[in-house]
Symmetry: C2
Subunit: 362 residues, 2 copies
Amino acid sequence: MAKDPGVLTERKKKILKAIIESHIANGEPVGSKYLTENKQIECSSATIRNEMAELEDMGYLEQPHTSAGRIPSELGYRFYVDSLIEDYSVTAKEVEQIHQMMRSKVSELDQIMNMASKVASHLTNYTAIAVKPRETLVTINRFETIFIDEYHFILVLVTSGDVVKTKNITTTRSLTRAFVGQVADSLNTHLAGKSAQEINLPLMMSLETEFAPYSELVSPVMKVVYDTMSVLDQGEMQVAGMDRLLEYPEYKDMESLKRLIGTIEEKEEIVNLVSEAGRDQHNIVIGSESEVKVMENSSLVFKPVVRNGKTVGAIGVIGPLRMDYARVLALLEAVTGNVSELLDDRKLDERKIEDKGDTNHG
Amino acid sequence: MAKDPGVLTERKKKILKAIIESHIANGEPVGSKYLTENKQIECSSATIRNEMAELEDMGYLEQPHTSAGRIPSELGYRFYVDSLIEDYSVTAKEVEQIHQMMRSKVSELDQIMNMASKVASHLTNYTAIAVKPRETLVTINRFETIFIDEYHFILVLVTSGDVVKTKNITTTRSLTRAFVGQVADSLNTHLAGKSAQEINLPLMMSLETEFAPYSELVSPVMKVVYDTMSVLDQGEMQVAGMDRLLEYPEYKDMESLKRLIGTIEEKEEIVNLVSEAGRDQHNIVIGSESEVKVMENSSLVFKPVVRNGKTVGAIGVIGPLRMDYARVLALLEAVTGNVSELLDDRKLDERKIEDKGDTNHG
DNA sequence: GTTAGCACTTGAGACCTTTGAGTGCTAATC
DNA sequence: GATTAGCACTCAAAGGTCTCAAGTGCTAAC
């Protein structure tokens, strides 16, 4: 495909940039005449045609059919975002909107991220996602137990990363407050520092002897612990503004739209993609660059959200290849910046508390 | 529209039923000739035409255009599900699939429900939802606190309905283990039995005096409590198999599809609909019967999941008006039945534990 | 290296016709 | 009075033809 991607004359770059930006704006193939008339390029349409032919040879452009203009190829977009793109300046109004929408009462990470994805979708007019990446190494930090009544107690599990999970445990055998306290102690002795993988049969057996005559408790408790840890490993993802996909003519094709929606809903692959990404910079995945075959017709742009130096999630945008990358990048920057600010522990004086807890129903 | 919906001759019922079932199966308008040839109706096409004309007058049928067959109206579907529908028998294979898919290791309600919605979508081939209904009256049951270190403790909040939420609280002022214990005691004295609405300024002020010199703690703690309670009120909803919508020609129309996807993603309105529903029976909402204007072209069928006599959620299916109601009803019955079984406390002997806890990250 | 000019290609859209399924109505029949 | 055969009528869907306009590649002149 590409002949010599390194050597693009200034004029070629200018033409390529003009084509890409026109196509992003209009969604239609761009012709040579259009460029001479609407973009400041000082040469005739014939010259542009020659240049375009060469750019096509190099793999930056494509032609839907002989008598149509050119559209950028994936390689073209890639070159554009790497070398040609100009910073978009977020407008005051957009900043205002971000602040407005993020200024909600909630302080839970999940909800902040969720709201951030809504903001991102709203401002960019693309489908947006909020991802909580897969945790690679979750270990048990400590246990606490709370005695409720004879037959119920709550198991509190604090993991690395200050994640707290609680579980109601119901037994058929009556308990005492003291015993429930011992449970926590034993669990702490045996399990602190362990990861899900390290919970194995010998461990369980040693616990069973220790807990006699409540050995019946061991396996359910361990199951809960194991469940909890596994869930944490998994990552999460929320979607906002899925319906916006339908506004773009590239998703007129029902079949590919169906597949894309399926992939988004499945979450798995996208969470993977995001989890593997670097921590600080923007990440742009253009079409078939990703291993997610199904995203072939789409681009994913996301930016991690960092709190206290730790990546706690990412906000991203999914849309057609001809996404307005400049604008999306700038807006994601603004949104994640805002989220980080909300999460920043150094601003405790202002908010006084930080919450990392979570809930579950039963 | 309707002249006298009560008096349908047996033959009219038979014809109506045949039309609806044909249309559900094929998605196309049904003509008189088709009926004589494929359904056992002992009269000529002309007679059927007369009958169909009358059924149309009564409001049970509609005609897309003069030279087309008839399709059922919403009223027609309503009459069908109320009076004409025949029970569908879930096949052994389907039962097997339900068991297979539900036999996963997890025991958390959220995850069970989520899996159930996937099963429902898979088996019915419609979009499915798992709803956790709005709680109407959540009150505080009790507090516990867990001392972590000088600057951190965990606040555990047990609400009515045995829902547990935990929050990490970070302070700028150093704490003692004893003090953290007192916090719980105070909170219990002042807040036990209260609902979110009852947390007001006077209450906060009385707490602030009590907590001096840690009065700075009061407002953040109360915020957490309030947040928590509000979130519980809200209800939740998960979607599975959204892409399946695109398989039905009635959603070819991008504009209405966009609106439907928007409504589903928004969740709000559907959660309302489900939350208001009765507890035990099936619920069938056909098109514009619901106040959710946007579902005008679609039907929602759902069945509550009951645990220990309490409605803890619902599994439902969203699809075109010409949904295969009989099959959907039977499969939802089977799926919710399976879920209830998994949740049933009486089977504790088998699983020994019950978990109601939940998680959150930070 | 650039440009004017021209023949060529091709999808989109407008318009027309055909086709066939299905109807409503009338008059004959049971 | 209910049923049915028969027939004229309607209308969307499908296919065909034509035109239109945008855009190209190429050649030859600058």
